[in-house]
Symmetry: C5
Subunit: 361 residues, 5 copies
Amino acid sequence: MNLHMHRGSSKKAGLPPGTVIYVGSQKTEKTRLKIINYTAACFEEKEAESIEEIINSTGKQGITWINIDGLQKIDVIEKIGKRFNLHPLTLEDIANTEQRPKMEDFESYLYIVLRMLQYNQQENAIVSEQLSLILGANWIISFQENEGDLFNPIRDRLKSDKGKIRKLGADYLLYTLIDAVVDNYFAVLEHMGEKIEDIVDQLIDNPQPSTMQTIHNLKRQNISLRKSIWPLRELVNSLVRSESELINKTTDIYLRDIYDHTIQVIDSAEAFRDTISGMLDIYLSSVSNRMNEIMKVLTIIATIFIPLTLIAGIYGMNFAYMPELKSPLGYPLVLLSMAIVTVGMLFYFRKKKWILQRSLK
Amino acid sequence: MNLHMHRGSSKKAGLPPGTVIYVGSQKTEKTRLKIINYTAACFEEKEAESIEEIINSTGKQGITWINIDGLQKIDVIEKIGKRFNLHPLTLEDIANTEQRPKMEDFESYLYIVLRMLQYNQQENAIVSEQLSLILGANWIISFQENEGDLFNPIRDRLKSDKGKIRKLGADYLLYTLIDAVVDNYFAVLEHMGEKIEDIVDQLIDNPQPSTMQTIHNLKRQNISLRKSIWPLRELVNSLVRSESELINKTTDIYLRDIYDHTIQVIDSAEAFRDTISGMLDIYLSSVSNRMNEIMKVLTIIATIFIPLTLIAGIYGMNFAYMPELKSPLGYPLVLLSMAIVTVGMLFYFRKKKWILQRSLK
Amino acid sequence: MNLHMHRGSSKKAGLPPGTVIYVGSQKTEKTRLKIINYTAACFEEKEAESIEEIINSTGKQGITWINIDGLQKIDVIEKIGKRFNLHPLTLEDIANTEQRPKMEDFESYLYIVLRMLQYNQQENAIVSEQLSLILGANWIISFQENEGDLFNPIRDRLKSDKGKIRKLGADYLLYTLIDAVVDNYFAVLEHMGEKIEDIVDQLIDNPQPSTMQTIHNLKRQNISLRKSIWPLRELVNSLVRSESELINKTTDIYLRDIYDHTIQVIDSAEAFRDTISGMLDIYLSSVSNRMNEIMKVLTIIATIFIPLTLIAGIYGMNFAYMPELKSPLGYPLVLLSMAIVTVGMLFYFRKKKWILQRSLK
Amino acid sequence: MNLHMHRGSSKKAGLPPGTVIYVGSQKTEKTRLKIINYTAACFEEKEAESIEEIINSTGKQGITWINIDGLQKIDVIEKIGKRFNLHPLTLEDIANTEQRPKMEDFESYLYIVLRMLQYNQQENAIVSEQLSLILGANWIISFQENEGDLFNPIRDRLKSDKGKIRKLGADYLLYTLIDAVVDNYFAVLEHMGEKIEDIVDQLIDNPQPSTMQTIHNLKRQNISLRKSIWPLRELVNSLVRSESELINKTTDIYLRDIYDHTIQVIDSAEAFRDTISGMLDIYLSSVSNRMNEIMKVLTIIATIFIPLTLIAGIYGMNFAYMPELKSPLGYPLVLLSMAIVTVGMLFYFRKKKWILQRSLK
Amino acid sequence: MNLHMHRGSSKKAGLPPGTVIYVGSQKTEKTRLKIINYTAACFEEKEAESIEEIINSTGKQGITWINIDGLQKIDVIEKIGKRFNLHPLTLEDIANTEQRPKMEDFESYLYIVLRMLQYNQQENAIVSEQLSLILGANWIISFQENEGDLFNPIRDRLKSDKGKIRKLGADYLLYTLIDAVVDNYFAVLEHMGEKIEDIVDQLIDNPQPSTMQTIHNLKRQNISLRKSIWPLRELVNSLVRSESELINKTTDIYLRDIYDHTIQVIDSAEAFRDTISGMLDIYLSSVSNRMNEIMKVLTIIATIFIPLTLIAGIYGMNFAYMPELKSPLGYPLVLLSMAIVTVGMLFYFRKKKWILQRSLK
């Protein structure tokens, strides 16, 4: 996945900066628009048919949250941009869904872009979606690539007036949204952790060539995960240190809490990285051990039977004068000497600890 | 262990921030509450039945240390929080036992969270427990996950008025508690060091496939250890540099002493890391050496006996005209030539140093 | 390629600093000179025969962009240098095409040197060309090694007055040029990413000794790529932070956008680096696995047939008294015992999972 | 050695901070006390029986250097501490011989702890001893674990008034002592360097399984060396930058000289580290090469003789109708064909460069 | 080489700081002294017999450059030191030829020490020589270990008044000297680059055990190279940032140019480092591939011939009742079945892609 991340970007080569082009894969779902408006006292939620409907709904008292799912319709982004005076580069970044998480302060608004991760069980892959958040004086606009998100519990809290969310400003809503995204990273890490534990067990019990492939996939998932979360740390940090008037000082302590979570996520991803590279070592050493075992079996068989074969070969020679051949004791004595050679060899191997440890158990 | 560390955190996804939920494993022991109150002149220790009893005991002259073992009863944390005006995020962090060590200055109090480590001999694992410390003007509250701690010597010193502990403030008590935690890390490192030495010896004498697993476990223990101690350095450093009025300037030198210890702990953990990765190299090279030895034995045997078998095979052919077969010297001469071939091969192997070094000793 | 990068530099050893010597490979194409002059209202483009013609065309109103393809004619560089008061070290750097990307502020002008990359499909190599940009008050001079560049879309936008490019200053043109170069890096990264994916697939399906060579080539391409882009980050950063009056404050936001792109390019190059080093691991482990398979086949064959050969050898001995030989059941019983040995061995190998997993499928 | 370094520290767990406990191995030698007093004009040296004698000798004009060998007698440290107003933590650090090198400024004195290294030829190990230095206004106290040190040349220079040592202050004496310790590191590095060169030669000529163990030991010595010298850099740097009035500005240039030496020591230790890790690669590759050689021999022998054995086997069959057996040319022709097979195989191996390169030379 | 670099330093252990002792290998050539004096208008060059002659020649108008080849005669250094008021530590550093490159500001003069590198083709080694430069108000003194240097082109430029060298101050001469040293590094890097390319080609065509040794040598050369150039960066940087009055502001731009070159040298050395470590991977994988090929040949031969030998063995048994033996078709049928087994095996190996890929081509 991460190897293709610049497909989109190169589509745009040569175009003037500020050109709004959707670079994600053209998903079939239509764009969905939702507007929520609330004050401490009231709450209103509306699904809109057209972007004009949304724009007409703005400008009310209280805090307004516009959520847009689907970025294919460029005119939606452009109309929003016009209504809220967004910089052309912001519009370009919203549509270009390969952004690195970052925070940009345009004075009249803050532009924040981050990545929502999802562990796709079937494909055993981490699916990544871009979330753009724009924080104005008393409004937030969120752009998502697909329908369905992590924010339903937040909408419920807004509706039911749980906690103090409706009493606080748009910056607190921003915090709540980012917090939901970061909290979700823990779920992704858990899935990854379980996957890693499964493979470690398998590595020890029964290593397979395909395991190597699985380790490699995990490694790439981890690389792509780290590409999402390392810049997030900077992002949250610059939010905390931001001098912007859009962020209330009382929100800082909540942002610092997200910062701590981000560090925790990074710590875990780094620990996974170490563990994954350790898995490779285990795999390679278990392959070596298997080889050793195979070679032991071969060596034991060859070392016992080749000398016996020589003895048999000698008494198969057709010399006219071989006195042993005439003796009635010749045959039993040869069989006996063969038995002695065999037992001797077995003792030698046991002394060398080749037998009875694992190979012939 | 470290792979599961976010189980708890994801339990909380979607809940409003500040929600106090205990995320550790539900331990059966009940919550134990203890309050200690002391001045330079007197000392009082009391085990309380209920949190209300504790709260009623506060507000006295001197320094008060409330210790709470067990975090299952959320109302205990909440009542403490109400009594001492703790921020909701602090309460959330106390209950969420997967915190990264950190220090937070809430002006009216400092919140410190760190991890107590214990080497569990039976399970050969490092057990980690979260310790939350809250330092107020003349009080400290400590939250632990389980009963039993490292602080009995400190309680004894308080009781018996050893040293100057009773003459100094709550910040000095805080130092004493953190110092006890850090000192305990040295014990954990010692256990780990002994374990490592055992395995190094074993690696050289008799490497086993299972050794690989043990090395891997040590590596994971080391990763989890480092996750506890690296943030501790920052924590202690920010305590030293703190401008908070809760920390007396005279305590700084003691905190710097803890800082030095923390660095020492980190140094050792890093040295262990290098040693553990070196062990892997030794293991792999000893596996290779074993393989070499096995291959030598096989090659020596095959190289000596296969040519002899050919000689025997030749004189086992049934050609009508094979003059050697008729000669009475044929058989002894063939045996002689076999002996010469064998001796020659042995000389060749000795020259190549394959024999008499280790393989046939 | 990167191994030869200092050939040129050593050509100059011992010469006084500021000596302008072209150190690139002497390309046969002649030097091409082009001058573009524009204001918001008008646009003029002219290909010049001689450098004097260019110099005479300067000094007009509006913004002038002089582009020079080919650096063999040192007098062109020197005349330009004289006309625009360039420092001798700048002229030296323009001609010496092994510069590390950098930005230098000479107060009256900014000197910027960076590298244009191109993925050459046939030779499967990244071709690098030096681009020198000089930004003056209302003019830009660009020096390129070869004809043909990435700037035709920019020329078209200038001509057709698309976007606001003609309304803004020379610093915006500078931004546009650098942006085109950085955007092109994404295309190079894409090619590289596709190449990597191809090899990963091949590694798993059918590893070849030649794959190692391909991986090594990729690694060197990545090293040379990183040598171009890491200094670019510094370069763009010092442009953003520059106090120079030549750069308008309103251009800063665009430069910061390039900065973000540069970081994204670096991120991808670093991710490729990890992936390439992971490919090496896959390759080595697949070689080990092949070896294991080969050894299994050898061991199975040897372990089954060597004992059988011994049995045959024993009954080929010529002892006078071997009662089995006389028995009419001897031959069938021996064949039967051989069959039993074979079946037993096969069972043993199946139990050890050597058969039916992959090797004999 | 480095694995046990915390034994001592854990002895102290639970004791109040500032408790002076000797944690080194209880060496049998008694504590030796020596006091040197000098001015530019006179020099006095005295070995004292008791600590009281020392203390009574202090307070004279000029500069006083008290040296204490052996730390078992805690009361000596405590009395010194009382006489010179040392902080309890300083006394604790002097007695705890597992300190990390550091410098602490207690305003009235500087406390410096560093490690003296010695290469023990017999045990082939680096022996480390703690040196505590306390610099007051016109006195220095040095604490060493064992008798015998690196300071005799300094005592001679003091006695014979060589150089300007007697004309300068206690801070210059401090510099001289630290300089002697750092200079000694070069000797340790030389020994290590010689050892490394020996092993590199041995690795190439005749790699042994025991070499791996030697490399591992070198690695651990290097780790322990680096644990001593990295903090030293910080130490010397903070001396140079120190604002303390105890250090004269004219001494700074000498301290900077030590700093340069420290960097040089670190450079060498880092270079050794790289070399040691390179040795491991050489060792592993030479093990692989040996394996290759062994396998070549086996393969050549098997490939030549197994087909010949088949030919002999065929003509050893007892079929009634085998016309070749009757022919008088049969036997010589079979021998001839065997010779042809052998020669063909040898040609094949030579073409593959298996022979005449090394294996059969 | 780099392993012995501290031999000299330990010679000096115990001596008072500032003791001037030559620690290089005692080279037989005598010390050569040369003095150059120039102004914009005139130029004078003189080879002197004795140091007194040199000292008497100083103090003239214009800029004086004293060059001393050979450091065995300590009195030369001491007399220079006395004449120019050099600090004892400077004299010590001049004579101790194992200095790390550094710059020291003694206010009345700057002391600069760096290393001149030379690629010795015969011994295939990088030879390093120490160059000490002392910059005073209008004089420079240079100390070199051996006769012959990189400065003849500079002397020619001074003599023939090429460029502006004679018009500028001593600081510009200093720049010219350092520039010559750094430019020479590019030549060393080129040699190294060619060597590396040769080995890479050899690695792929025909890897040899001796290649490992060559790689190791390259690695050590690279380590020693990096020890010379990394500190050089700091050195040049501190020259650029220096507040010293001895360096004119107009020289800064030239020093920054050297800085850029230094970075380029470092970049290349780092790229070489990566390439060298990649070569090791190629070597190890090609050893593994060779092993795989050898094993394939062995396995093919054994797998084809061992079953055939069994068949021959069976019909070599001496049972009285073996009906096949009597049949006239027995012999041809057995030969046919052998041919079938052989062809079947060959098909199996082709299917497994063991044949026709490389091993039997």
